[in-house]
């Protein structure tokens, strides 16, 4: 049982006009096995929250804390955070020329597990995971995210989730740009990982669509850099109906 604890998190980015505050005190606690949906309008700071937890260098933490089982996450380097059990499925996965998916996955698994996975079982593991995500085996030989369609990029993120087995996964708009079939396959992937482990999930989304496939235990409404309302799954239904207008015009 692990706990990811975000307290009073304040984050700024450097812009031409100076520092702009984006997160204005975010409080959120996620325990193993829980799924928290973070829903909010575009530009409300959802990705900033995700990136800040993962340690993207563009974001400056100006206040608050993030801890994983009491250990200060913000003091860790990006790779240490991943090794500690955090995973970020990115809204815009990055192309890495020259590195094949195979090579990338194996290097990542080696880093996370602390030793190189046994080649025999590893090859099978990757094949199996790719198959269940409906990914063409040729995919493994392509360069990371290079020339991938939007849907392929998202499947590739979930493939990594399956193989790296983190304690907590932050899924940043994993649903965006997916057609219904791909959404179902990707959601099944997430549910499979959750079924096989005690994964805690921060599911960031703009739309309620994905919540039909991945049932949240808690829903948090995010607006203007902080959580403005919290509730159970029923809150998502209300958002579906009424949108975010009530939160953005305040």
């Amino acid at each position: 049982m692990s706990t990811l604890d975000i307290k009073g998190l304040q984050v700024s980015v450097a812009t031409e006009a100076g520092f702009t505050e984006i997160l204005r005190g975010v409080d959120l606690t996620i325990k193993s096995g829980e799924t928290h949906a973070i829903m909010g309008p575009n530009g409300s700071g959802k990705s900033t929250l995700a990136y800040s937890i993962a340690g993207h260098p563009k974001y400056t933490i100006t206040g608050g804390s993030v801890t994983l089982d009491g250990v200060d996450v913000l003091a860790m380097s990006v790779d240490e955070r991943a090794k500690a059990g955090l995973f970020l499925a990115m809204q815009y996965p990055v192309e890495v020329p020259g590195v094949s998916v195979t090579n990338f996955l194996r290097t990542a698994a080696t880093a996370i597990r602390g030793e190189a996975p046994k080649l025999r079982t590893w090859v099978g593991e990757v094949k199996e995971a790719m198959k269940s995500l409906n990914m063409d085996p040729n995919f493994a030989e392509r360069n990371v995210n290079e020339g991938f369609s939007g849907g392929e990029k998202k499947r590739h993120e979930i493939l990594q989730l399956e193989l790296l087995k983190p304690k907590f996964a932050i899924l940043d708009e994993t649903d965006s740009g997916l057609d219904v079939d791909a959404l179902r396959i990707v959601s099944e992937g997430v549910n499979r990982v959750k079924g096989n482990s005690d994964l805690g999930i921060m599911l960031i989304t703009h739309y309620t669509r994905i919540l039909r496939y991945i049932r949240p235990d808690f829903v948090h409404v995010f607006a203007a850099g902080k959580i403005v309302e919290e509730g159970g799954p029923e809150l998502a239904d209300k958002l579906e109906e009424k949108g975010y207008a009530e939160y953005t015009t305040a």
Partner: protein, 361 residues
């Protein structure tokens, strides 16, 4: 010492062929007042049946190809003796022939080697360039009918070396020439892998990698002359650059003459910039005089390894140093793997890792 040539005019840097080269750094190799010492620098370190090396008088063995390259033209003027490597007709050499250099002094020298592969022979020849040199160097290959020659040229020079080289192949009917050029060492390396054909059905595959760090100038100028019908050529060069004032130049000239119907050619150059301050020039150039061809194409890309990529890899637990190594190794694996020699592969990758570590990239 030879007399100086009278009609030689040193390049000024305004010539198309020399516009990228830092001529101030060529160590006298192109200076009409500096004589070059003729050197037999090549020896076979693993003699085997079916291949022999003979030192011959240059007068008895004039160059088999005409060159427009000033460095090799000048080199030829000073060469007294050449090394002639012959692979017998119909032999299939089991082991690669390993060539090494000796007698390099670090003063301006010139060396010329002729490699003749007999009809239907099969050979792999690997040249390892190590140590320090200021060398004008020419290799010519005659690949006879039905023969296959794979020539691997490894530039693992020390960091003061100046190497101006030409590697010219003449490929006969149904013969194949595979070239793998790897340039990781040297202060200034300018190599000209060039190809012409003497019969149809022939094929050239020119692969290369170069990795330039701080202040290195690594230049590769390829030229494929499709001067016969139904010949094939493939060019694939990959370069990575890291550190301040690392400079690479890749020129890919493919010329399809009017009689070269049925030509099939494709050339590709990819560059990977690992840090700011490095510069990769890439100029593919295809000239086509006949439309009756199978295919002709080229592509050139220059990509960056940037903070976003580093973040992505790091966010999967991969430490920054390993992330860079992963990117570079992955990028080069395709070419290095073609050498099909694990010892060399490991040595090259280790060298690349070490260079990466040195520039702190």
């Amino acid at each position: 010492m030879s007399t100086l040539t009278t009609n030689y005019l040193a390049p000024t840097g305004r010539e198309e062929a020399w516009r990228f080269t830092p001529l101030a750094r060529v160590g006298g190799l192109l200076d009409s007042t500096v004589p070059l010492e003729s050197v037999n620098s090549i020896s076979i370190s693993n003699p085997q049946n079916g291949v022999k090396l003979t030192v011959k008088s240059a007068a008895d063995c004039p160059a088999i190809s005409s060159s427009e390259d000033l460095a090799s033209i000048r080199g030829r003027e000073f060469i007294r003796e050449i090394s002639h490597i012959e692979v017998s007709n119909n032999v299939q050499l089991e082991l690669p022939v390993l060539l090494k250099r000796s007698s390099l002094t670090g003063k301006p020298q010139a060396s010329r080697t002729l490699i003749s592969c007999g009809v239907n022979s099969h050979a792999t020849i690997i040249l390892q360039n190590t140590g320090e040199a200021i060398l004008s160097d020419e290799f010519e290959f005659e690949v006879a009918q039905g023969a296959t020659l794979t020539f691997v040229s490894l530039q693992e020079w020390g960091n003061k070396t100046v190497h101006l080289g030409r590697q010219h192949a003449i490929i006969a009917k149904d013969a194949t020439f595979n070239s793998i050029v790897v340039t990781v060492g040297g202060s200034l390396v300018r190599l000209l892998p060039t190809v012409e054909y003497s019969g149809p059905g022939s094929s050239a595959d020119l692969q290369g990698l170069y990795f330039a760090t701080d202040g290195q100038h690594l230049e590769h100028r390829l030229h494929v002359d499709h001067n016969v019908p139904n010949a094939k050529s493939r060019v694939n060069y990959k370069g990575a650059l890291a550190g301040d004032k690392a400079h690479t130049v890749w020129i890919g000239d493919v010329y399809i003459r009017s009689n070269a119907e049925g030509t099939d050619t494709y050339e590709l150059n990819r560059n990977l910039l690992l840090s700011d301050g490095a510069r990769a020039d890439s100029v593919p150039n295809l000239e086509i005089e006949t439309g009756e061809i199978v295919g002709a194409g080229h592509a050139s890309t220059t990509g960056r390894f940037d903070d976003e990529q580093l973040f992505y890899l790091s966010s999967r637990g991969i430490p920054a140093e390993i992330a860079r190594r992963l990117v570079v190794r992955g990028f080069f694996a395709e070419i290095v793997g073609k050498i099909k020699n694990e010892e060399i592969e490991n040595r090259l990758m280790d060298r690349i890792d070490a260079e990466l570590a040195k520039v702190g990239a």
